[in-house]
Symmetry: D3
Subunit: 295 residues, 6 copies
């Protein structure tokens, strides 16, 4: 169950509203790198958590914190939209600064939300539930979380660069710090689960005896007409020779070569109404009649 | 530039076609854990690669290999669909095995593709370009890739469990092996980039002096009414005390407390046509008139 | 800011797991009538709230409650999936009950989430942020909320009918009750805002003097070749005669008649590369040359 | 069956084409508040209508009218695009007015449609069929319709504010008037169905004896650390005390308290390939072996 | 402007309702091959039509007819759903026919629409406005229309095969006939526009002198390690030798060969926060400082 | 299986980077008219190809070539983004050229990809797998391909018009040439399949004796209140009189007239919880009780 106190986790101050920056902030709300995604991702992982209880608990803690981050950013969007140009009329003729703002605004901030945040990204593309990764495998999920916090922190530093509003920079410095922590937090779980050697290959519960042993530590090179220097560099790279990262194999280099032949599908099923030429072309007319008779 | 030879990277054999399994295989083609995603993800990362050339080269190699994996799976779908029930009529009355197959089939395999693979997942949801992560930050991208290969390998092992067709199990054992390699491959890059200490926090080019230092290594606990035992466990956990994973801080435990007050937005802009009560409710009628006058 | 206590708002018990019912429950999680939608909808409305503070407060309260409903439903999905058939192999040959379950299951519950809830609806279509309505007009938003709770309660009653599991029926009886309350809650705001007469037409801050007065209370009938009886019924209906619901007009009946002529667009801009025949067909060749010259 | 006459329901005149306003108009065509949505919504409700025939008839009438509104808006978009800047070259250097237009334009108006309307909103997000609400419950549908006409009219008034083109303002004054009528029209049905008391809780055919009576008229407050004044205001609000809006209960105020315990899911099914640590962590190694044996 | 008469264009009779077939019919309503798509496609093409008026008129005629087809199919869905199993309880235990129906049903037909059609395809994926093609080039649009009627008629014949309900087969025989006509109708426009030689390459208004003349009639072969027989067949095929279809060139065969070198992007912009190693790896530390200084 | 050589199919040069043009180029990458679509479309058609092998081979050749086109365009996007304005701060105050660029940029090029291409269109809408058409009917697929190359070439010519960068114009002249070839290539297959007469109606394997012969060559006119001149023109048009394009019928003109009556659905199933008035309104209370009893 969840509670709130109506206050912000960290102060949100906008010194000089900028509707184009409001649009950029949307990426951190409804984008694939954004806070709705991590919020739902951690909560769904917690709610579906099977195994040691402490991971469920931790996921719930941080999933709950992320709601407060959406709240902060939604507030920042609304504050950046105060006093925004709401029309395409007189303003158009005005100075280039306003023109740039109008070009960079999300028109739906005027038309759909009345100057408030939307559950969309900075292109206006709605948040999409497919981004919420919860695989049931704890290690895979931790990587999903490290990834989310890595692209999330990268996004936040870019937003930090894109503004010179002191309030906004302060809020972003807070969010950047939280992403630092959360990267470390999920990495701590991976350490507890055994580190590279214990964790990989994910899932570690599938017996490696069942996987194809000619290919499980081979770098397959698909490059043709390669220069010798380039080829040598690739052959001697960290991922094509020496021990594998999980300590369970030896990297090797392998030129791509087809191990399977040309695939051949059967003739079209007449009930699927391909063109007649597809049926008679690949077999005698007799055979096609035989198929028809058989139906 | 790209080339092909018309043959499969590894043989694809279906001993006993199963249209419901064909549908499950779609997840590995057009799903978020699937091969179209990793194929485009590695290629887009390569095409946008800035920095040392060897990473561009490697991404291109593996991105190109992944096209061959889509090809194998698309072939497997088509072969599993041969002889599929194509109607809702007489078959309905038949034995429960066919009934189960019909229930588990994707009707669009009959209606839209004529018994061939589609660019969709096992729910029929189309592949979505938003899943293609390429952030411009190499370390973030490597985590995106490890994550994709981790959920991808988990998916492949589940497909392996879901079938007892020898041909399909053999193909999946190959794909599982490739995922093992690819997990190791992206991890090797992370090692080259400096390992946990060198890589994190991602991006490592943002000066940590600028982030909020009260919060960058603090585990924020949002849990209320906690049992003492649970609280203690959390406080002493790997992620709430001791050195951080990136070696740049010390974990600490912090109860969630609002540092910001209650947010307060301005009154609605009259041109946005909120209800009159929203404007007069939050300020005197005089003020609302003043705003109107000012416009 | 938000908190949690790790417990459920109401008990969730599944007496007899049913993976097909788990799939149906997804509609109440990630569907357009579901809880992620109302949760985000109320929270975004709160975060963007301009005007009397009490409405922001109330929206925040109920938005926070809805997180707990997602939690309950996600738990119910996971419990209904315990012991689910995870393959397409031997089970297929089994009895029709399992066959029906397999047909009704979401394959991604096996393949993607490892027997846990997903942020999707009962067709596997991901939750979509476009469903989160927050218009900045409080009355419009209240209707959006009544609507959400009306289709939401209808959905919950259908789920109640679809199961005979006592635990599930008990949980649904709780959720149905909450929807009853929430319908009443949003209606109470509409009463406070002035009821039908005070609230409509929404937005009530737009001067009705500016709207086209020939059409603002006219029922426009597009039906041709109508039977006299049917036409009479429509003419005398509640919405085609008598006072309007908002008390600000008189309903009238009007046969549809074009007030505008046939629209005529200019010739294609040559830079847009329509077919030549589109340009020369609608004007002389001379004119098209003149346009080309003018560019 | 449907007919047309090639003329517009109301005249569409653009005095001064503005491609950025063309983009804003797209919200009223392909947006969630737009005309494709209401058109399909009323028609699908009509086509699926069960119960008194007059409601089917009325829905069909207005659904048919809405096609004419899409037509008007699509015409308005095309007219606003005449003479639009079609390139990123010389124009860039020109005055700020054209720059603002270029920034506010939808590039697909140039690239994809050749200066004509698209089935997308003002962010270029395609119309989505999930927005078409038709629940089979007439009252829920009427609320969906009032909601659509309320956000629709709000949108239209914002477009009216955003332009000073006389032709466009005249067209919008017509559409605003139609939205006034349609709000009233759907409200008239709700009156016929019994008004607040008769209609609610929706669906009114579910026996309220089956819903959880401790929670069906209780305002659940999730707020913690509340100021006394604020708490008092909430407790005494219209929705926390006094008779409910549907006349079937008494509002009460209730502090949120968990009625369910901490949820506990079973251990992962080994065939789902969680990490080994998830299986051994939550139970003895013996148990995991037992599960494996049992499979 | 549009009108209706409340009657169906052609009779819709369902002799034996089949909810799984109802789901299949959804593909013809909300699928990419379906009627909402062609309806909106023809209407949007008409509304944006520039050039000879007769094409606008024709597009409007057929666009209007298509609304009646959606109506017929929506009616067919509702009739096929009458008496559908609405639960996951007792029915599960019943005979395999009902089990198959339940597996093949769309659960949202029960949960969301109350046994009526939805604006989705047979996977429950919502109709998507991106499918509405209207390019502003009449010939390109005619091909889009021939394509839509070709996959549309293929779909209809597959539905015809999938049912043995006489009423449904009769309705589908009508729709198949309409698709025959519409294929012919759009082809007639292509003939009027000049046939293959006059129409192609589309757009025919772009001067072919501006296109790269080494590549405009060359079949580029990307196949490597080709068998001699296969290569010969390809070289002598209709599309690799002889006059081109548009009569404006001569087909030739060309082995794929890179004409461009390896692409090289600049170093990352420091404000984009790539990893430091990406910046220092590709250039000296001096250069990176120079870039930093220059900002 | 697939290979690459790391070089571009054709040189990509950007003389003067333009981030707004980079955004326009995205339409040719991730848009419905773009290269990801044709790439996957041809490859999926090849992989699902049933019938004469030469068509599979050809589709594979060209599908493989298209990967190189995505590569070229992705490179062009990255080059156009070099030196792009990455913030909303000082630049805003600058000259109108930069302002126009900022308005026309995709903010995700800064925020999400670090100045590289994304798998989205020029509105930022992600590539969607539903666009990949592969019907299993070769002729229908060839029309899908001609259509894709026609809107694709139209798009490319518009991009050519939109830039005056010599490098970009040269690259586009190459891509335009390839589209010319590909249009011709797919048309060659249609000729081989029998031309208009042999190919249509698609699918040609459905017996025309089964289609409704009153409607398969009739132009149905839905226009009412028509002017005599207009009506005459339509009656005498190429598509309303004379031989049909497929040579298998005679066009005729037919006024739209309903052949079916008003549809009538049964009363709502009580378990679907419509409003009570829907059940009692359409039948006596007795009947509704009878239904209830029967359940």
């Amino acid at each position: 169950m969840f509670y709130h106190d109506g206050k912000l986790q960290y102060k949100v101050r906008v010194d000089k509203p900028n509707p184009a920056f409001a649009n950029m902030l949307q990426q951190a709300i409804g984008g694939i790198e954004g806070e709705i995604r991590v919020c739902l991702q951690y909560l769904f992982q917690a709610w579906g958590s099977r195994g040691p209880k402490k991971y469920r608990d931790m996921l719930m803690e941080t999933g709950t914190e992320e709601i407060a981050h959406i709240e902060m950013l939604a507030t920042a969007v609304a504050l950046n939209l105060e006093g925004a140009p709401m029309s395409m009329k007189d303003e158009m003729a005005k100075d280039s600064v306003i023109g740039a703002v109008m070009g960079g605004m999300n028109p739906r901030h005027v038309l759909s939300s009345g100057l408030a945040a939307l559950a969309v990204d900075s292109n206006g593309v709605p948040f999409n539930g497919s981004w919420v990764v919860g695989s049931g495998n704890l290690a895979a999920d931790m990587y999903a979380n490290v990834q989310a916090e890595s692209t999330g922190r990268t996004l936040a530093t870019r937003l930090w660069e894109a503004t010179d509003d002191h309030g906004m920079k302060d809020m972003l410095a807070f969010l950047i710090a939280r992403d630092t922590m959360h990267q470390n937090q999920w990495l701590a779980v991976l350490e507890e689960l055994g580190g590279l050697n214990g964790v990989h290959p994910i899932p570690n519960s599938f017996p490696q005896t069942e996987e194809n042993k000619n290919f499980n530590y081979a770098f397959v090179s698909t490059k043709v007409n390669d220069l010798e220097d380039d080829a040598n560099e690739m052959m001697n790279s960290r991922w094509a020779s020496g021990p594998s990262m999980d300590g369970k194999g030896e990297f090797k280099f392998k030129r791509a070569m087809p191990e399977g032949g040309e695939p051949q599908l059967g003739p079209p099923d007449p009930r699927g109404h391909a063109q007649t030429e597809q049926m008679t072309g690949s077999m005698g007319a007799g055979m096609i009649n035989k198929i028809k008779d058989a139906l």
